[in-house]
Subunit: 318 residues, 2 copies
């Protein structure tokens, strides 16, 4: 099959690309390399069934050209930064909402009708129900990131109804693992590497968060695309557990053999729009036979080992 992966050189997209290339599909990566890394695709470099196109999804004519021949699109290109939305309010709208609209329009032009979308548990805002199911009460948005992804979901759903598209929408918790280059493990590791005696922790450390290992995430996506055949298929993806930020700090410090003084910025949230409790109900995807293979702790430690083995990434993302 001719598959396009937007953001195919990014954290999750690169692993997906490698899997799809190895499965024999013709894969075209579309990436602007703003956060994607060519080295993430080293494992399949030179494969005859891989094309890498440097293209920004905000450039609709180029995107439409790059989409030529696509039958199935994994749309992972995004501004994945939830924390700094308020510093540049247009960025999430551009990359996650308008970008998704462009992907849909390009697909419509070339006749592609199947789309996988990486959404987020952030669209639940600060949910009233934990674990939070896919049909939770209509949420109120608390971040520009969540709002922009929710808007992307809505556009995709409207294209399914209006233009005969089929979609698989995945609402992720934070993803961990190899190629990870953004988020709390990254931040803590970088800070502790610079100064192992002191660590600033955003909020009061009691924020409850859930995480998922990247290959568990991709197993779930693969299974859902095979088995779920509604017009719009929506799945939460996460582990059936959560941890406090303090737990993660402890695991990381123990693994690195450091005992820093912890300085908390205070408050129940790490930043404005930070949800103090993220924990998704994953019964829907589990009912298809999926279960995660790594616990949150194992995923944190595997991510840490990856970062230790790849100091180039800290510099690339400096």
């Amino acid at each position: 099959m001719n598959i396009v992966v937007t953001g195919g050189a990014g954290f999750i997209g690169s692993h997906l690309t490698i899997r799809l290339v190895r499965a024999g599909h013709h894969v075209r990566v579309i990436d602007n390399f703003s956060t994607g890394q060519e080295r993430f695709l080293d494992a399949v470099r030179g494969a005859p069934n891989l094309e890498v196109v440097r293209c920004d999804i905000l450039d609709l004519p180029s995107l439409t050209n790059a989409m030529d021949g696509a039958e199935f699109v994994y749309h992972l290109a995004a501004n994945a930064d939830v924390r700094f939305g308020l510093q540049h309010p247009r960025k999430d709208l551009d990359h996650n909402t308008i970008g998704t609209f462009h992907v849909l329009e390009a697909m419509r032009q070339v006749g592609a009708r199947h789309i996988v979308f990486s959404s987020t548990g952030s669209i639940y805002g600060e949910p009233s129900i934990h674990p939070t199911p896919e049909d939770a009460p209509f949420p109120i948005q608390t971040s520009l990131y969540g709002a922009s992804k929710l808007a992307g979901e809505g556009l995709i759903e409207a294209y399914c109804e209006g233009f005969g598209f089929q979609s698989w929408i995945f609402r992720f918790v934070s993803i961990l693992g190899e190629h990870y280059s953004h988020g709390h493990v990254f931040d803590f590791y970088r800070k502790l590497r610079a100064n192992p005696h002191e660590l600033e922790v955003l909020g009061d450390g009691h924020q409850k968060k859930s995480y998922l290992y990247v290959h568990d995430c991709l197993d779930a996506i693969e299974l859902a695309v095979q088995k779920a055949q509604e017009k719009v298929n929506i799945f939460n993806l996460g582990t059936d557990e959560y941890c406090e930020v303090n737990d993660s700090v402890r695991w990381i410090c123990e693994a690195l053999g450091v005992r820093p003084v912890l300085r908390y910025t205070g408050g129940p949230r790490g930043w404005i729009g930070d949800s103090p409790f993220i924990y998704l109900d994953t019964r829907r995807i589990r009912a298809l036979g999926w279960h995660p293979t790594l616990s949150i702790r194992e995923a944190v430690l595997r991510t840490l080992r990856y970062l230790e083995a790849n100091p180039w990434l800290l510099e690339a993302r400096a």
Copy 2:
């Protein structure tokens, strides 16, 4: 107070503007007059506390200028056409999502922090619960219009959390009454005027819809803005009844004294994305002491009388 009304020359916006001017506020109408009509503001023409600025909300620099001094913004400017979204997929995104983002950014620039937003019951897609409450299960979008308004809601909510805005979001059923110039009563009246012997009805006529009289709608908005003081205040607005399209056809034909042959296009929906059953739970706004004064039938007939008395409008909207 210095109040801006975007879409202030439109159907609902013009009535709101007239009320606010008469209440002594300084009102600045921002309208691109794509569907707004100068004549809708005849009742307050020349009032010293009314300014009318011809400006498109898609032009952010002009909008920011026009917003200067605003303390409170009623954001009603929109592409209000749910039916033709698929013919121009970018239009709803531009006017309702990006337009709303511009309003928020302009407000942020000038220091305005209070916004009323005209959303829609269409954001519930095809709801599983009737009457549909504000905290209904997370819906799936079925129209580009609904998706674009949902995105507008999300942006507003994120600005409330991130930038200290306060918002009142109203999810309307279809609004009827004076200055109405778009929708099924308008279409039926225009068709019957051209040919009273035959009437095409979209769908099978059994679509169940709810409607609200424009002054009942504005009473509810006025009350909610006074009494509801959460950061984000969301209210369904509608009557506690619904009718079938066939009912409305009967009322209109009886009032006009015509007996056309009805020709149904068939199917449970009038068009792709048409919700076959719209009926909103309005207990939240009723709890503040509001109730509608006109039934659906009365609102349909009043609308019809208005159209009969204002033939210029049929030509203006031809």
